[in-house]
Amino acid sequence: MSNIMVTDPRFSSAGRPSGRLLEVDDLRVEFRTRDGVAKVINGVTYHVDAGETLAVLGESGSGKSVTAQTIMGILDTPPGFLTGGQIRFHGEDMLEMSAEQRRKIRGTGIAMVFQDALSALNPVFTVGFQIGEQFRIRQGMSRKEAKRRSIELLDQVRIPNARQRVTEYPHQFSGGMRQRVMIAMSLALDPEVLIADEPTTALDVTVQAQIMDLLAELRRERNMGMILITHDLGVVADVSDRIAVMYAGRIVEEANVHELYARPAHPYTLGLLDSIPRIDEKGQELRTIKGLPPSLLRIPSGCPFHPRCPMAQPVCVEKVPPLRRLGPTRGSACHFAEELLQAEELVKP
């Protein structure tokens, strides 16, 4: 099964070709907490086009979920404050729009699947009511019509016996089935972009495989753009076209999926790939990334990765490396990206 999409050769942060579906441009968000100001997102730029899957990869605290929340307009304010940047949907800046205009985009333009379906669904309403709510409120459908559409949707996400299950409550569904309900709900208004925030983290691996297959299939059928937020390098390799790796609120590397795994252009990506045990490899000591991810209250000067980087030089402490373009589809925020690629070339020609 080959589902590799031809990726857009134009590079995201360089120039601004028109006709992009969703673009995030130099987004900045900070959290004003009791302990100080945490700079959670420090200039994030990415885009997603129709029919492609962009994976946003990062560890906890890298800002990957907050970026998604900001796009959806569900950032908790306070403590979260938007301090700069643009989010353009079909070229129009959503941050300049009125609340009413933004509401119109939610669901029909951009929809989101959350990680924990049990807490994202309302326990006191049937799943049919919760899915149908969108049809009734947004499209003025009758209750009966909304229920019929809900059954259709549950069918589409392959919930067996949808006609009967539409009247059941979230607690009556298993974890995997609940996630399917969530997906059905997000697809109700036929969105152009689907943001999936760790959609399978809480699930078992056999169920995870089912859900990822389902998402990939629905994306293909509907030609949606998908932003997959995850920390799992395995899932990313399986389904995505392009990848943005985040660290301390910045994108440190952007590449198409084959480039990134074959030859990472940032020491952090390289470290991540080396530190995960693989099911198809026999044990050896894992190489690790030393130290800990930085506190967002005290992000290190220069390159935020420098205290943990094996390649760090004095310049890394002083200067923040910008996300530089290295090829048609890739970029790296490392002062020594070229050297790293060259060294890798020597090891694996």
Binding site: E59, T206, A209, S275, I276, P277, D280, K282
Partner: protein, 340 residues
Amino acid sequence: MSEKILEIKELVKHYAVTRGIVFKKTIGHVQAVDGVTLDLREGETLGVVGESGCGKSTLSRVVMNLELPTAGTVLYRGEDIFKMRGGDMRRLRRQIQLVMQDPYTSLNPRMTVGDLIGEPFEIHTEVAPKGSRRQKVQELLELVGLNPEHINRYPHQFSGGQRQRIGIARALALRPEIIVCDEPVSALDVSIQAQVMNLLEKLQSELGLAYIFIAHDLSVVRHLSDRVAVMYLGKIVEIGTEDQIYERPTHPYTQALLSAVPVPDPTVRSTKAIIRLTGDVPSPANPPSGCRFRTRCWKAQDICAKEVPALVERRGTDHPSACHFAEEREIVVTHEAGVA
């Protein structure tokens, strides 16, 4: 082959499902663990994998003697641990220790690191007489890669990975022979997970520990284990060495499980064997008759509903598998790490 230190025989743990408050009536049993037989040898790592609800954590709780089994025995060096009392029991507790999954809830937030790690010495005074405790704790901190000067800090001052190290230091305090690790790295970030896994390996080779390593992540289990048992709905469906399970799996469930694990390499996307199970795991309160996996199995025949398949070696296979139609099949193409 080294000596068996732990023998688990036909272990069964059922939980009663009741209805009513005053007049409680048992209406069924959750068959969390149902007839598990396992050995643990000195210095080895036995991996136990399975999806949620397969009974792997219940197994660890019973082995730790935190819960009594419904039936079956666990022998520690030939002695039944459920018959031990008083001093014998205390000595056993020293030998088997637990590292828990969640480093945020398994450490008391009101105790300092020194108190947390040193608490086992209060009961087992023979390990560290009163005057030497502080020094012992500092040695332990050093052993797990933490700064010994942080002995007076509280858990909230540490990161997740560091807290897991504290949990490991606490488990090591009494110099046990066996450590039961129940999902020790699943709550940690990718870059931290590798650090803790390397630490567990280092401690094993330095101290000669035996691990029962319980996890749902098959890649992690492969990396650390010498032998692996695969569980499904309270039963072991297949057991063998790491190579046998990962390179020559014979049970359809093991094969499906391995096939579902995403490989962090986009080039294997098209070459990978894809087996997709349909549906969810049935409820352990009402498991299917015969083979418990038959409801999701593509090989199921009439015999699977009638007869429980025994966990034995079948013709053409080299390790025990509980399937009537056990057959080797290569799912993941293994290569040596670092060579690729």
